[in-house]
């Protein structure tokens, strides 16, 4: 007797499921489909806060406010979190907001340094003037509290070995008074720590970027305004990325490729320290600078198609199950 089709779909070979899954994830990735997410209020709030700092800095050019971005994640969660740090940095550098970054774990030092300079280069940001990288402050609690008075006393040197007091940026921005927003991007419970110290003790505004898995843990802090906003998982990253791209189109224009190509065309010598990055982009570098501008949204397109594929499978399996049960009952 031939097995009816509904019995067959109930016991599909796993290999078939896997191959289709592979295809379903790969197509959006290769075709560079982008998912166009609706921007959630908690993500928009972060964006608005940074825009607020920009407006403030416009009217206070001598006493600007800065952003402290803490890389509180290790490479294992970079698929979800890299797009977040990149978008936030793009936003800040585009708006010429001073940025201080550091890494919370020893194995995130490289990652934090690479991403910070990678984005800084896109906007010709100058080390020491527009941004600084403080390496791995240890112990973290002490560093966070040191920001309450003067961080230069605690972090005497930056990651590259420059004296903190010799960095123009740190001489303007050395404590929480001139930090407009703290952004913590983390797959751990570090945001909780930031809330306890920087928010509760010093009343600083905290914005969080976190993995999809940890997002639920932090919703209560949003309700109580202990965090001003949150990017949850790849989706939150995609939303922020969309906002930043819209801003970039407005500020720089549609053609980012030629903007980058021409950025360092008649650049004066000696402005950019080649120890930090070499001005100018090779074609390959250019490609990766462009593709990271939509990595969260292409990732999200794959993500969404995988979700709908699984839901389709579940519906299929249940259909098969009901039909075979009905056939059994008839018999």
């Amino acid at each position: 007797m031939k097995t009816p089709w509904y019995e067959k779909i109930m016991s599909l070979d796993k290999k078939v499921l896997y191959v289709i899954m592979f295809v379903v994830v790969m197509i959006p990735l290769l075709a560079r489909w982008t998912y166009n997410p609706a921007v959630m209020p908690e993500v928009k709030d972060i964006y608005d806060e940074i825009e607020g700092i920009y407006t403030y800095n416009q009217s206070h050019p001598d006493t600007p406010q800065g952003i402290l971005l803490s890389f509180d994640y290790s490479p294992s969660t970079n698929a979800e979190l890299d797009p977040m740090t990149m978008s936030v940095l793009r936003h800040a550098f585009m708006r010429r907001i001073p940025v201080i970054t550091w890494a919370a774990f020893p194995d995130s030092i490289d990652l934090a340094k690479n991403i910070t300079t990678f984005i800084a280069k896109e906007y010709g940001a100058v080390y020491g003037k527009d941004f600084v990288f403080m390496g791995y402050p240890y112990p973290m609690t002490a560093a966070v509290i040191a920001f309450g008075s003067d961080v230069r006393n605690f972090l005497v040197k930056d990651f590259y070995g420059n004296l903190s007091t010799a960095l123009p940026l740190l001489n303007k921005i050395y404590n929480y008074k001139s930090i407009g927003l703290i952004v913590t991007v983390s797959g751990t419970s570090y945001p909780r720590f930031w809330v306890t110290y920087a928010n509760t003790l010093y009343g600083k505004k905290i914005a969080t970027g976190t993995t999809a898995v940890s997002a639920a843990e932090f919703y209560p802090f949003l309700q109580t305004d202990q965090m001003i906003g949150m990017m949850g998982g790849l989706r939150g990253a995609a939303e922020y990325e969309k906002l930043v791209q819209a801003l970039e189109t407005q500020v720089i224009g549609e053609d980012i490729g030629s903007y980058l190509r021409n950025l360092y065309n008649d650049a004066p010598e000696g402005v950019w320290d080649t120890k930090i990055y070499t001005p100018g982009f090779s074609e390959e570098e250019l490609q990766s600078h462009l593709s990271t501008r939509m990595s969260a949204r292409t990732g999200m397109a794959s993500q969404a198609s995988a979700h709908f594929y699984v839901i389709f499978l579940i519906i299929l399996a249940n259909l098969g199950f009901f039909l075979s049960r009905r056939a059994e009952n008839k018999r």
Binding site: I145, G148, S149, D150, N153, Y176, K177, L201, Y202
Partner: protein
């Protein structure tokens, strides 16, 4: 009367020089809030300092706090006036150290004024963690109860235990492997021995190994941690001896598959695909590798009996495995399988403590409705 005259005279004389100070004495110009206290719950090697500036940054841009340890000057902390709370932990060498802090203000001209406030504190070691006392008392009650119930159980009192499906299935699962002539796999989690879940799993390993030995079924126990390996080797060996089948025991049954969760998963997945076990036990602590092992076991057609105390991995076992021991059922398993009165006694004690916890929860909630946190403070501290 004479004294007062002299003082008045002195004040009059010094008035031109001390005008500023004089107003200070009435309403001191320089102000701040300083508290210095022994750090709670430590061995006496820290003193906490909390400092809040009382002047605006324009009046006093900077404060200095001089620290003296046992009377000797130690160091100065400079505090920029950020208008915010400044916290500092002062490390000292031993308990009983006297710490003195003197606050000086730097006025707008950079002149050092003060000391405006002086505080002292002595570091001390605490003899118990005040915040753990509640848990300690509950634990003592637990221990006492276990002792009492064990005595009862020894006297032969019957203790009823409800059916746990996953454990009832062990017999059939091992029997199935025997019929099919395929091996039984036992995976005692991927954690270390510090994890009590690993110990709970090793307690179940014994009866399972005994069963397998009696049925003369091939047995394989891949392990991730060297210490767990040494314990599991003993357990399996003794189980085979207890079953009277020491002849079937082979040192290679319990082996280190690899260290590191994913390398372990890679090795065990490979082994499962090649040896096609009929029954796979996944009991203990798991992380992300839980689903890899469970799915591969399903692919090779094995019955899986799983159990873990990791709430993040339970959903995967529930979805992918035939039987799942949820959380505490894993810990109850050794009593359930052995039916030893001593172990059953502790199970009963566990239920009673749990009842007490539920009752305190309900009482605490009811009292909270009336605005009292009595239970919270006493029982749930």
């Amino acid at each position: 009367m004479k004294k007062i005259t002299i003082i008045l005279l002195l004040i009059l004389l010094s008035a031109p020089f001390m005008a500023a100070q004089e107003t200070n004495e009435e309403t001191p110009f320089y102000a701040c809030d300083l508290s210095l206290y022994d750090s709670p719950n430590d061995e006496g090697v820290n003193v906490e300092l909390e400092f809040t500036p009382g002047n605006t940054a324009a009046e006093v841009p900077q404060y200095a706090i001089d620290l003296y340890i046992d009377g000797a000057f130690s160091n100065t902390i400079m505090v920029k006036n950020a208008g915010a709370l400044f916290l500092h932990t002062i490390p000292v060498d031993k308990s009983g150290t006297l710490v003195r802090a003197e606050v000086f203000a730097y006025d707008a001209q950079g002149q050092r004024q003060g000391p405006i406030v002086v505080k002292e504190a002595t570091s001390a070691a605490q003899w118990y963690f005040s915040d753990r006392l509640g848990a300690f008392i509950w634990s003592l009650a637990f221990i006492g109860l276990i002792m009492v119930l064990i005595r009862k159980a020894k006297r032969g009192q019957e203790i009823f235990i409800r059916r746990i499906a996953g454990l009832e299935a062990i017999d059939d699962a091992v029997g199935r492997a025997t019929e099919m002539g395929r091996p039984v796999y036992y995976i005692p989690g991927t954690s270390v021995i510090d994890d009590i879940a690993t110990l709970a799993s090793l307690n179940i390993l014994r009866p399972v190994a005994q069963q397998v030995a009696t049925y003369e079924t091939p047995f394989s126990v891949p392990i991730q941690d060297p210490v767990v390996l040494t314990v599991a080797q003993d357990v399996v060996k003794e189980a085979y001896m207890a079953a009277g089948r020491a002849d079937l025991h082979d040192e290679g049954m319990v082996y280190l598959a690899s260290v590191g969760q994913f390398a372990y998963a890679a090795a065990v997945n490979g082994a499962m695909v090649r040896e096609k076990p009929a029954t796979v036990f996944l009991l203990g602590m798991f992380w992300a590798e839980s689903l890899m092992l469970a799915e591969t076991a399903n692919t090779v057609g094995a019955i899986q009996i799983a159990g873990t105390d990791s709430t993040s991995q339970l959903p995967f076992f529930i979805a992918a495995c035939d039987y799942t021991l949820i959380g505490e059922e894993l810990y109850a398993a050794s009593a359930y399988l052995s039916r030893e009165p001593l172990l059953l006694g502790t199970l009963k004690a566990q239920d009673i403590i749990k009842g007490a916890v539920i009752i305190s929860l309900v009482l605490a909630i009811v009292l909270m409705l009336f605005g009292s946190d009595f239970i919270m403070r006493i029982f749930l501290q």
